[in-house]
Symmetry: C3
Subunit: 279 residues, 3 copies
Amino acid sequence: VPLTGPEAVRQHPVVSLLTDFGYAEPFAGLVKARVLAECPSAKIVDLTHSLPPYAIEAAAFWIGRAYRYFPPHSVHVCVVDPGVGTERRILLAELAGHVFLAPDNGLLTSIGSHPEARIRALDPGWLASAGLGRPSATFHGRDLFAPLAGRLAAGTALPEQVGQIVSDWQRLATTSPVRTASGVHGRVLFADTFGNIFSNIETITLVDYAEWEVVAAGRVLPWVRTYGEAAPGTVVALENSFGVVEIACVGGSAAGVTGLGPGAPVELRRRGDPERPGY
Amino acid sequence: VPLTGPEAVRQHPVVSLLTDFGYAEPFAGLVKARVLAECPSAKIVDLTHSLPPYAIEAAAFWIGRAYRYFPPHSVHVCVVDPGVGTERRILLAELAGHVFLAPDNGLLTSIGSHPEARIRALDPGWLASAGLGRPSATFHGRDLFAPLAGRLAAGTALPEQVGQIVSDWQRLATTSPVRTASGVHGRVLFADTFGNIFSNIETITLVDYAEWEVVAAGRVLPWVRTYGEAAPGTVVALENSFGVVEIACVGGSAAGVTGLGPGAPVELRRRGDPERPGY
Amino acid sequence: VPLTGPEAVRQHPVVSLLTDFGYAEPFAGLVKARVLAECPSAKIVDLTHSLPPYAIEAAAFWIGRAYRYFPPHSVHVCVVDPGVGTERRILLAELAGHVFLAPDNGLLTSIGSHPEARIRALDPGWLASAGLGRPSATFHGRDLFAPLAGRLAAGTALPEQVGQIVSDWQRLATTSPVRTASGVHGRVLFADTFGNIFSNIETITLVDYAEWEVVAAGRVLPWVRTYGEAAPGTVVALENSFGVVEIACVGGSAAGVTGLGPGAPVELRRRGDPERPGY
């Protein structure tokens, strides 16, 4: 039988990839080639290579959520990098035993906002000494991120070697949801392939869903626990599997039906008359 | 040199994935993360994540065909699951040394119809005792199928533990081809990316192709052994590489040219006058 | 910690795949299944399965570039094969420690043109003796390329066994760039997903980019080192990360903006008056 447990995880370190390289050319494959050249036993997991070009906010959302499902000591590489070849820095973050590599353009906003996260800026001097100082001008994913991720996975490079801890890394200027007397004002982050709309309102603090309703696109939406609870075609709100308020259309596309796009307002409010005194 | 043979297969158990999750979000990647957390040496093979949403019949076809090319002891996970979060059961099937996991919605029709197949319904009590009793309402692929597949691959869960053998699992109400005096009446299952049309007529019993012709979309189609035997643009019939009658257009899309869609009739008939007495 | 170095590469041999199978059906997955059946520890890397159908020239370009980023002893399988099932030969090439498998239709043009490359034609007698003599008529990727690649990766088949060295393999009748008094006349190979246009002009001999300008689609294009050097919307020329002259539109699609398609002329010329005597 195969080995399991921490030692097995160490023998097969995981490298995840999240890019906007697409699937039509071998760009992601070449990243993998270079990871394997450094760490032949690595398990490489594609999160996706189909991010819309330069979709930094959606990428930042997924980086902040996805790592939790990976074994510890995974290395997560995110390359959504419109500034490739310019002087933008490259960051390495550490959180909860995971390592993250990304350009310094806001991608690590959610990771870095965690109080236990540590973020380093790659030191050009160290990169040069590691033989990674002369990447091509337009494909740092292959020439820099991939070999570095492979070495971090293999343990032949260590986070504390790559550069100093920094605090001036770029944050996305996103507006967090706002608490109001009657609930929470948030907004749409993005719609997924199925047309399910992800909002930026976290559900973790909602004790009793029966108390709440969601207002978006001029509709008051019923809360459901699962898609199957409402009739086909109904637009509903639910806690999705990533812990945020989602707007979905049963058997259809909520994005198509409602027209809600990124940035549109989503309001979570207590049922009943919000004007009622003492509410 | 690397190890080969049964022991090597055991050291690197294969988990295949067949879903409608798409490639745009990290849904399939998160399934892989959780498989690897349970079975770090697993080899995960994407069959596809691009099934049309809720395409249960096409998925059932592929499940019944694909496993034959995998090494024994592979675990095949199929998640096309419009009923996720409702009370639908989850099934585990065993056939020819392979293990299959799927919701109970018809996906295992072709596997389960094999006389040697054994199908179990996952026992909620066992799932709870295994720490898998509280999945999110909308993403059982990640929260339940994946860790279970990883444990089955690793041997840390065994098929006989997960639940009782059942016989009342859901079958697709598909009409099998009908034998007639002159041949076989079948129908279209689906068209693939290239526009090649898969029918439900198995070719295994056809000894001499020269005796047969195919009638579909009002055309009598010539039999060929391979696409290259007819001129570009010709619509032909052939035994495809999955053992069914396929309708193809040389260098083009048969689905586009003929307009044949799922359910359309396909007739296989003996050459010559079908009305001739004694034929 | 995981093993690294040549021994680790041997334990986890890499097989790369480059096909036009698409992602909608499990075709590529079945190829992987059969590779793993022969070589359970193989690392399989998708270069892409989204080549346009029968895009032999683009495939040949990528084969000639991609292998350089892989560890030695990798096996590269390319199946873009409109002649599948006909009498076309299958080739095995060796170059720089890498092994390549492809149908004999021009795909190995760039590999084979290297003076150190060795190309063999698979011997039907050997294939039969190896149990690979009866593939399906339409899916040699699964039935022949995959198991052979797995055995080559595992070392259970050796290049020198599979057939004789041949010199009459098919070359693409592509016109190489032509040197002129003022520079180089080349042409467009293809545009990638981002609309970046790859030409067939290699940049390796250009010492000083400041001396050159690119003329295409009736425009004189400025040279840049990286996309970020010009304003959004500008159409520029640069040395891309694969060593050829690329035409790009900053933040946009050069293919869309210029209308340049495969075969269109691209001229690299020295700055200044090309008619000037002695220039």
